[in-house]
Structures are given as C-alpha cells and as structure tokens.
Amino acid sequence: MSEAKSFRKPYKRPVDKLWWLKNKFFTVYMIREGTAVTALFAALEIILGIFLFGLCNLDAETATAETAAPYLWWVQDFLGNPLVIILNLVCLAASLFHAVTWFNLMPKAVRLFMNKNSTELLPDYIVKMGLYGALAGATVVILVFAVATI
C-alpha cells in the first residue's frame, strides 16, 4: 500500500554468522552438510589410486613390485599411513552419520498409500528399513567384491 505517511520503523535483526551453533537441530544439519568435505576426500583418494594405477606398467607380462610400484605406494605407503587411516575412519564415521540422519528424513519424500482404497500411509519405518536394507546390501556386495579381488 502506498504510504502517505507512516510511523513504521521495522527492525531487521542481523544474521549471525554462527546461527547454526545456536540450535542443536541446525548444528546437526551443518555437520551433515559438512560430511561433503569427507566425501570429497574419499573421492580424491580413490581418484589418486586410479591415477597411480594408470601409471603402472600395464604392458608388463607379470605384475612385479617394480611394474606396480606407483599403485603399491598408494596401497602401502599412502593408505597405510596412520594419518590417512585416521582420516578414512573419520570418513567412514561421517558417511554413516550422513546415512543415518538422511534416512531419518527420507520418509518425508515418500508418500504412498497402503493400498488402492486406504487412506493410511505407508509407515515411516518401512521406508527406513528399506533404506537400511539397501545400505547393508551395498556394503555386503562391495566387501564381497573387495575380498574376491585380493
């Protein structure tokens, strides 16, 4: 509305840079968002491994310590480094944290009725169970694959 005259003087509260520390819910959210950093680390780590694998002499008839030296360095010296082990454990914890908090939210994005005529919705725990099932399944497949390739 056009104001011929107004006594208004609304006060806009400044946005505190640390707003996300003021409320536990926001802090958890920011940590969840922060897990992107650990995910980035894990991705770079794998890219490094693939890159170093590419540096190996792949034309050699048999893989020796010499021909596979770059990859072996990645496996033994890099991944074996205590600092990297700790970082990887942090990554594991972070991705589990992300999974748990994300799975808690996911039922909101699923809205299915129990059957054709029902007005009852599929309960949240079924969606969550599905997600945890998928997580467990993927973990098992990857572990089996990893063990098989050793």
């Binding site: 509305m1 104001e3 011929a4 005259k5 107004s6 006594f7 208004r8 003087k9």
Partner: protein
Amino acid sequence: MEKYQADVAIVGAGGTGLRAAIAVAQANPKLRVALISKVYPMRSHTVAAEGGAAGVVRDDDSYQKHFEDTVAGGDWLCEQDVVEYFVRHTTPELYQLEHWGCPWSRKPDGNVNVRRFGGMKVPRTWFAADKSGFHMLHTLFQTSVQFPSIHRFDEHFVLDLLEEDGVCRGVVCYDLQNGVFRQINAKCVFMATGGAGRAYAFNTDGGIVTGDGIALAYRHGVPIRDMEFVQYHPTGLLGCGLLMTEGCRGEGGVLYNKDHYRYLQDYGLGPETPVGQPKNKYMELGPRDRLSQAFWNESKKGRTFKYPLGEAVHLDLTHLGEKYLHERLPLICELAMTYSGVDPVKAPVPVRPVVHYTMGGIETNGRTETRMPGLYAGGECASVGIHGANRLGSNSLVETIVFGKMGGDAMAERAEKEKDFDSPELARQAEAAEKRALALFDVKGDESLSKVRDEMGDSMEAGVGIYREEEGMQKTIDTLKALKKRYVNIPLTDRGRIFNTEWMNLIELGYTLDVAQCMVHSAINRKESRGSHQRLDGPNGAYKERDDKNFLKHSLAIYNKETGLPDISLSEVKITTFQPAKRVYGAEADAAEAARKAKEAK
C-alpha cells in the same frame, strides 16, 4: 488523512466478509471492494468453528424439515420468510465452497458426507472433520486472492462509520501497522464483524470477538435486535472454555453427571437412547439452550463433578474408539489433550456450558439491509432473523456464506446505481473520529483497563447467564453504568502509534460495554422465557413460561443520545406458515408430530 474511494467497504474478513467480497467481485469486477479487518483474514474467529454447516442433501430430508427445525429451534422468534430463503440457499453455497476447494469430509464413493447435529431432525451437517470453520475460512481467503478488485486493508481497526443525511458513506479506520488513520468512502458499507462473546468472562471466543460492528451501528442509531439471546454452548472445556464441538455428540458422545447418569432424560429430552446409537433430537442431540439449562439444574441439585477449576459434567467419547475419533474429531482430541490433559480416546472430558454465540445483532431485512441506507450487515453481528431465540448448531457457519453472498449481491446492485460520493462533511467526521481516538492518550485517571473488562465479564455472567432474574439483571445494569463512568478514566501507558494494542483494546472495550448494555436492557424487558432467555421470576413465577401474547416479538435496542442507554422496544415477528406451538424434543416431539399428522389427515 489518507483517503480511499471504494464502491463497497466490508468491515470484517471472516466467513461473511470474505464471501461478500467475492460476491461483489464476481457480480462486477469493476467495483472496488475495500475489505477491512483488524486482523489478517485467516485469524477471524470463523476459523474456530468446528462442527459443520447445515445443508439439505439427503433423500429423506427436505427444505421444509430444515425450516421447521430452525424455526422451532429458535422458539418461533425467527423471520420465517428469511428462514425459507435461507434453507433453500444453504446447499448451493456449500457446493460452491466445495468447488472452491473446501475439503468436506466424504463418503467412500467420493460424495459429500453429512453428520448429525443437535436439534436437527435429519443428518444434514456438512463437515470437514472437526475443523469446518477453519477449512471454510481458508478456502474463502485463498479463493479471494484471485480477484484483483478486492483491496484488503489487513490489520485496520474501524473507529467509526461516516454518515451524511442519514446515509452511510464509509468508515474511518486506524492502520495498526503504519500507525496512521484512513478514511474509506464507499457507496455501501457491510458489517461482518462477528459476535460479542467477550462481553462475558467465560466464553469460547477469540480475543477479537468484541462486538465492534454492533456497537458502531448502535451508536449511529441503527436498531440492534434480540440481544438478550446469548447462546451458552453446553460443552466447553473446563477452565479455558474452549469449544468441544456439538459434533462430539453428533458422532455419539454422551453426557454423564457425577452419578454416571445420563441426566438429560430428566429434562424432556428422553427417553434415554442407547450409548453408540444417537437419535436426532433426543438426549444429547437436543438443542443447546436446553442442554445448558439442564447443566444449571444439575448443578443446583449437586449432581455435577467438582474440580479445582469449577463444576463440570463428563462428555464421554471413549466408546467411539481411537480410529474413529482421530478421523472424525482430530481437533477435539488435540484440544482436550493440550488444554485439559485428557485423552478423549481413554477418558471422559470434563465440560460445562460456556458463552458461545450472539443470536441477536444489527437488525436487517432478508436482504441484509439495515434501516440506514447504505449500511448492510451479515453473519453473527447481524440479526437477519434466522436464529430466533436459540440458534441451532451448524446454522451459523452456513449463514455466513448464504448472507455473505446475499449481501454482496445486494451491494453490487446498489453500487452500480450510486455515484461516488465525497464531501467536506465526511472528512470532518473522519477527523473528528481521529481526534476522539487520539484524545484517549490525554486521559489522566487511575482506572485499569483489565479491571473494568473483568468486572464487566463477571457481571454479565452473574446477571444475564443461563437463568435470569430481575434483581440480578438490574444489578448488572447498574454495574455497567458504573463501569462506563470508570471507563473514561482509564489512562494509556503506551504512547506509541505502531501496534498500540492497549489503545485498540481500550476502544474495543468501549464497544463491548455498549453491546453488553444492549444485552441486559433487552433481557430485563423480556418478561418471559424463550429459547436461551430463561427467567426464574415474575409474579408467581409467571416469567418462567413463554408468553406469545406479549412477547412473540423481537426486542429492539436503540441508542438514546440523551441517556447514553438503549431504549428498548418491540417489533413484529414474521410468521408465514409455521404457527407457534410448544417446543418439544425427544419422545414428546414424536408424539406431537404424530398428533399433527393425524390432525392434518382428517
């Protein structure tokens, strides 16, 4: 002062105001509608209505039955021609809301479902779970935003009507957010400001239900009709007074006294119907006035529960089961849990009667026109003539839309004929209203707003409650007179212009005091018992009975400038086809009906 030229000014943006605004916008998109409300529209108290809205749809129902229920329910103090119009227009209006998106509860086949309600012979109450008012109001508000010709003045508080040569020409209001005054000129002004339940201490109403529109019209000499009829809803939550909808009983809820006895059978509403098998117009499905009066008598007999917060009876819903309750009465479950700590699924809810509705209001004809040309009224603030001495549950929600639409159409017609009007006189009046409002800042007294307000509420409960006596009413008259004297000595501590709620509350209290006076003066003059107006006195208790000879008439309260009090007179009631008879419920009603049919057959 800023001025706005409108074709139609609507004061109040609840169910009635919004429906009227939409009607004007649809009738002629060129008409400028000013929709003025002291709150955002969705805060209006329509939002709190729970049970539903009546409209004939079932094959075993008819307009005639709805008409008879309404007129008998109102103890024959209804304008029968208006009721005839009303019952024929409820259903189309309810379908209209359905088309606009209102989520009326459905039957499994996808058609609209209806529920039982007190005083209604056939189930005909449309409901949106137990949030019918909420869904109606939001549907209307959301629908209204598509009409560019509706110019909303949200959080604008109306201070006075503008009037020249006896014609209503607009309003002057205070914009809470900007702290400025606005003059709004209009060819028609529609009052849709709701009731005045806040005149009483214990009520179901929101803080905004202060009778503003009634007082504004009253101060301009417009007759205020049937104000003695104030509805006590029989089932309010103990303590806070929040409403436990009549839908609770419609769905099968029952009332017990402290001896676990369904006491309503002692008050002409029996015989007792089996729990879980509610029967229309029997027991718990009797009308509200009778049920509230029964409570009063139980209390006198010492058969109510005594809680720290007061006396109560038990509303038992436990037999309905969790699934059904959560589907049909979710808000009731939430309210009882939150405000009483009782889960209706598991335990009965302590309830007692509580002031709920103002049957009377600004006198209008069937077209919502008042006696002042240009001034219209609809909804709870109006007395269009359908509720008589007692309103039936679910007639008022539908009244808002039927007479909102009617008012909108009537105003559009007038606005198309009239020319824009402005004059120095209107500006003078607007400035005078501003000055009067600002003068409240200069009061130097030692009275307290909250004390005057609370004493008014207590005095109204004491003098013009469920049962009334001359002596008590006279005492309330005297108290109100004294309170009005004290009112002018209430100082304001808040000197600000922005959102000065203390200032607004003070002006509201002035409105409510006027309306309270209309109520008690009308009541003391009605020397009979009818509907919600029940007296215990008179020579040999003569006023305990209905007296059609002298009082089958409306009361009119007209402001007397000399005395500052209402002059009370009587006016005729329009009776078309349904002659007054004894008002009966339960088995007695069935017997009377059978007798009437037998007589007609001869």
